[in-house]
């Protein structure tokens, strides 16, 4: 299933999310099961299926990581079910350092500042990876797409870090 086609959008990573939401509401109305209250059993079942598909598609395209995964899967690269190990030592060292910094936040003299600093570092790094990804993911070349896949994997680590940061923040205040 190509979700870009479902929402009549061009398959681009830099997606107009306002337009996506608009198309989503249109489609949702068109396939809403309530509209099929007097329809045959088969049409009702189909309407339920379509609604589920529209919801899945919207959730997939809304978030950059799942959108990128969807784009790659359309090109034959499946990232969502892989158990690939990342071995980029420099990248992993940085991840370790950030995890250590998160652990030490509660012992900081000024945890507010430490949290603010990490938010900024994570944001900058994520922005850098995301813009590289936007350049590479449109490619048709296998080697460039493999690089794009690697960037998506890195974004997944950043997503996890961000969640940990927010958890640390919640625990403090």
């Amino acid at each position: 299933m190509n979700y870009f086609e479902l929402f009549s959008l061009s398959p681009s990573f830099e997606l107009d999310t306002a337009l996506l939401s608009e198309r989503y509401r249109e489609l949702q109305r068109a396939v809403h099961p309530d509209k099929f209250a007097n329809a045959s059993e088969q049409d009702k079942r189909l309407a339920v299926q379509h609604t589920a598909q529209v919801n899945d598609g919207y959730n997939t395209l809304k978030h950059p990581i799942s959108r990128a995964e969807h784009m790659l899967s359309l090109k034959g690269i499946d990232l969502s079910h892989e158990s690939t190990t990342v071995k980029d030592t420099m990248f992993l060292m940085q991840q370790m350092e950030w995890r250590e910094a998160l652990e030490e936040i509660s012992d900081c003299d000024d945890p507010d500042e430490a949290i603010e600093h990490l938010h900024q570092s994570f944001g900058e790094y994520r922005g850098e990876i995301t813009s590289q990804l936007a350049q590479k993911i449109g490619s048709e070349e296998a080697s460039v797409l493999e690089q794009a896949a690697d960037l998506v994997r890195k974004l997944k680590f950043m997503e996890k870090l961000q969640a940990e940061l927010e958890r640390t923040e919640d625990a403090l205040f």
Partner: protein, 127 residues
């Protein structure tokens, strides 16, 4: 999801947590990560001149199964030769800890950490 007793034991009393001095020439480091869950694992081995693993330490950021898997391999590799350590399979780890299917990737990560550390050892000794 219920963790096995062995996982809980390693999680609550992890063996060999920490780091060696990375400037020590007998120390090699394996760094690996799993994008699916964002887990990061560092395994360090201290290997003597005869190629025997003298000591091992780990540091893992991840779920209980990832911590237990790395804690277990630090125990297993001690006293082993490079070849013996190389032969440790993720299935052995998963079986020992009774990992459920969704946590198999934690044992894969631990196996890959051993391999990454030993790769560094080989690269050092080829020179």
């Amino acid at each position: 999801m219920a963790y096995s007793e062995k996982v809980i034991d390693h999680y609550e009393n992890p063996r060999n947590v920490g780091s060696f001095d990375k400037n020590d020439p007998s120390v090699v480091t394996g760094m690996v990560g799993a994008p699916a869950c964002g887990d990061v694992m560092k395994l360090q081995l201290k290997i003597d001149e005869q190629g025997i693993i003298e000591d091992a330490k780990f540091k893992t950021y991840g779920c209980g199964s990832a911590i237990a898997s790395s804690s277990l391999v630090t125990e297993w590799v001690k006293g082993k030769t490079i070849e013996e350590a190389q032969a440790i399979k993720n299935t052995d780890i998963a079986e020992e800890l009774a990992l459920p299917p969704v946590k198999i990737h934690c044992s894969i990560l631990a196996e890959d950490a051993i391999k990454a550390a030993l790769d560094e050892y080989k690269a050092k000794h080829e020179k």
